[in-house]
């Protein structure tokens, strides 16, 4: 097993990885920017290295400094968390070349699946369902118009290197193609340094269903149920749950099989998530794959009992999967609410000092957070400061627990999205499971 893991991240996910390492008896190195010197993840680790100033490009995403930190501390593996360097194929490659294990898929896996247009092509070629769209990258507005005409409007133009809702434009008619194409290309270029875009059918009220997969180096691939992440604001997930209220046992097996086949197509290793759109008629289409741990991984842990971060680490270490498909039993229901340091109505960021922090506890409630009383929410990074995860025997109990937990959660000194989550939990449509990716927009407008 690894002796020492460098955690190339911050906040709750860094703490999550450190906790898993501790339970596995592995030493940890925290890296941090100058702004995060007092962070809980820094204190929780065995060693700490400052890798740069607040700006993440110069610290958490500074490849030479991160690798030097691994070198001088003698870390034999790096866990990238999510965001930052987690889907950077070049970083994974350099790690491999200097003999530091990258805890995640191979650099080829990342490169292949990181190009969303290429990933669609590979999956479609295996005869698996893919959202109708352009076969690959769109070279020109003209190509975009032709592809859109073939599949029918509305369509959505997306950055091939995209993620997090950046570089996307919905197009309702042929007149709008030129402007949307240029805008998406420009945003893709500025955000991801790559102006490659593609196009697919735009579904009106789809669900976002994703399947957690795990693969070992012996070619075993399993799926661990789905997550319904339909509640999003500007493509940012807010509430996730498993199982999906829209997925029955039969559909679960079908989507699971497709997800497993998709990742087998690229000889995928380690954990990953295959994202699908599910339309109203229960047709599902491959959208893209995330080649890292997801923010919302805890809900899968709650219903399977499997520690996904530990599994990532042991898989990266070359061990076989600790379970086979028949061992995976989904028990009960789990929800996650992402608590952001934001105004719950205007969504403006609300950094500052948390003057009082008291997390909910008790049966079926889990909080993943690196916050505490007197902690500072710095303004340089993602605004998510805590994840409240509940588990219940059924969806009703998981929801009742979430309401109870949100009521208990005390965060003073800054604004958070807790009030918004309370409103969502009290909404009859949400309670009935009647949601889609457009749910939140309508809900906020009402």
């Amino acid at each position: 097993m690894f002796k020492k893991v460098l955690v190339a991240n911050r906040g709750e996910i860094a703490l999550r990885v450190i906790r898993a390492c501790k339970e596995l008896g592995i030493k940890t190195v925290a890296i941090h920017s100058e702004a995060d010197a007092a962070g809980m993840h820094v204190r929780a680790a065995d060693e700490r290295i400052c890798v740069g100033p607040a700006e993440s490009a110069l610290s958490y995403r500074n490849i030479p400094n991160v690798l030097s930190a691994a070198e001088i501390t003698g870390a034999d593996a790096i866990h990238p968390g999510y965001g930052f360097l987690s889907e950077n194929a070049h970083f994974a490659e350099v790690c491999e070349s200097i003999g530091v294990k990258f805890i995640g898929p191979t650099s080829e896996n990342i490169a292949l699946m990181g190009d969303k247009a290429k990933a669609r092509e590979i999956v479609a070629r295996r005869g698996l369902p893919v959202t109708p769209g352009s076969p690959g990258e769109l070279k020109s507005e003209q190509e975009a118009r032709e592809a859109a005409a073939k599949i029918g409007y509305p369509v959505i133009i997306k950055a091939a290197a995209g993620g997090g809702g950046r570089g996307m434009r919905v197009v309702n008619s042929t007149d709008e193609v030129a402007r949307a194409f240029q805008a998406a290309q420009a945003e893709a270029k500025s955000t991801f340094g790559n102006d490659s875009v593609y196009l697919e059918r735009y579904f009106l009220e789809p669900r976002h269903i994703e399947v957690q997969i795990a693969a070992d180096s012996r070619g075993h691939v399993v799926y661990l149920g789905e997550r319904d992440c339909s509640i999003q604001r500007r493509h940012q997930k807010l509430v996730e749950e498993t199982p999906s209220p829209a997925v029955d046992e039969k559909l679960r097996r079908e989507i699971g099989r497709v997800a497993v086949e998709a990742v087998k197509a690229v000889h995928y290793r380690n954990l990953g998530t295959v994202e699908f759109l599910l339309d109203k008629d229960h047709n599902f289409f491959f959208m893209e794959m995330n080649t890292r741990i997801q923010v919302e991984h805890p809900i899968t842990e709650m219903v399977t009992g499997i520690d996904l971060i530990k599994e990532q680490i042991t898989l990266a270490n070359g061990q076989p999967l600790s379970f086979r498909q028949p061992d995976i039993r989904l028990t009960g229901h789990s929800l996650e609410c992402r608590i952001n340091a934001e105004d719950p109505e205007k969504f403006t960021p609300s950094p500052g000092v948390i003057s009082r922090y008291c997390a909910p506890g008790g049966f079926g409630v889990r909080v993943d957070s690196a916050m505490e009383s007197n902690a500072v929410v710095v303004p340089y990074y993602d605004s998510m400061i805590a994840k409240v995860i509940t588990h219940g025997r059924d969806r009703l109990e998981a929801m009742a627990r979430m309401r109870r937990a949100l009521d208990e959660f005390v965060i003073e000194g800054i604004k958070t999205t807790i009030p918004l989550h309370k409103r969502i939990l009290n909404d009859p449509d949400f309670q009935k499971g009647h949601v889609s990716t457009t749910y939140l927009e309508r809900f906020l407008a009402s």
Partner: protein, 185 residues
């Protein structure tokens, strides 16, 4: 390859330059100016993650403390217990250094790596304490990713202190040398 370190007021222990007007405010105008200066001090404190700042000049003494976060840190360190082989003394009292370095320039590491005082194991060190150096003169090497990065002096002056032992790891922003820019050979 070498990189210049921009001169900034760094985390701990860089000289804090006080406006001369600070001494002895008498009028309301002065008082307002003083308020602004105190705010500047507070900003300085925060920017530098200090816990306490005390300044005395010509009968004026100002002391600013920022306790909450600090208490947390130090308490946490002892309790969590996991600080282990901490590379840099983050939690050392920042004041000590600040006092030592009043008026001095700190040369910090712009990258994470391994500190070497000489170009090769057999060679002489680039500089010794007490040496006078010129702006642009190489002071040490920080090795990162098998590359030797020469660190140059920002100023003319005298090396008053070498803060890191050769072959030791250094993190970003770690203080390497103190230089007295007012010293003349």
């Amino acid at each position: 390859m070498s990189r210049k370190k921009p001169r900034r007021s760094k985390r701990h222990g860089t000289p804090i330059v006080l406006p001369g007007s600070f001494a002895g405010a008498t009028s309301a105008q002065d008082a307002a100016a003083q308020q602004r200066q105190i705010q500047d001090l507070i900003d300085l404190l925060k920017r530098n993650h200090l816990t306490e700042l005390e300044i005395e000049r010509a009968g004026v003494r100002i002391r600013v403390r920022h306790e909450a976060a600090v208490k947390t840190v130090s308490a946490a360190v002892s309790e969590a217990g996991g600080t282990g082989q901490t590379v840099s003394p983050h939690t050392s009292p920042p004041n000590e250094l600040a006092e030592d370095t009043a008026g001095h320039i700190t040369i910090t590491s712009p990258i994470v790596g391994t500190f070497y005082r000489s170009p090769s194991p057999d060679a002489d060190p680039y500089v010794e304490e007490g040496d006078f150096v010129k702006r642009g003169q190489v002071l040490c090497i920080v090795e990162a990713m098998k590359l030797m990065n020469e660190i140059e002096s920002e100023v003319d002056g005298r090396i008053t202190k070498i803060l890191v032992e050769s072959t030791k790891p250094v993190e970003y922003g770690q203080a390497l040398f103190l230089i007295d820019p007012k010293a003349t050979p």
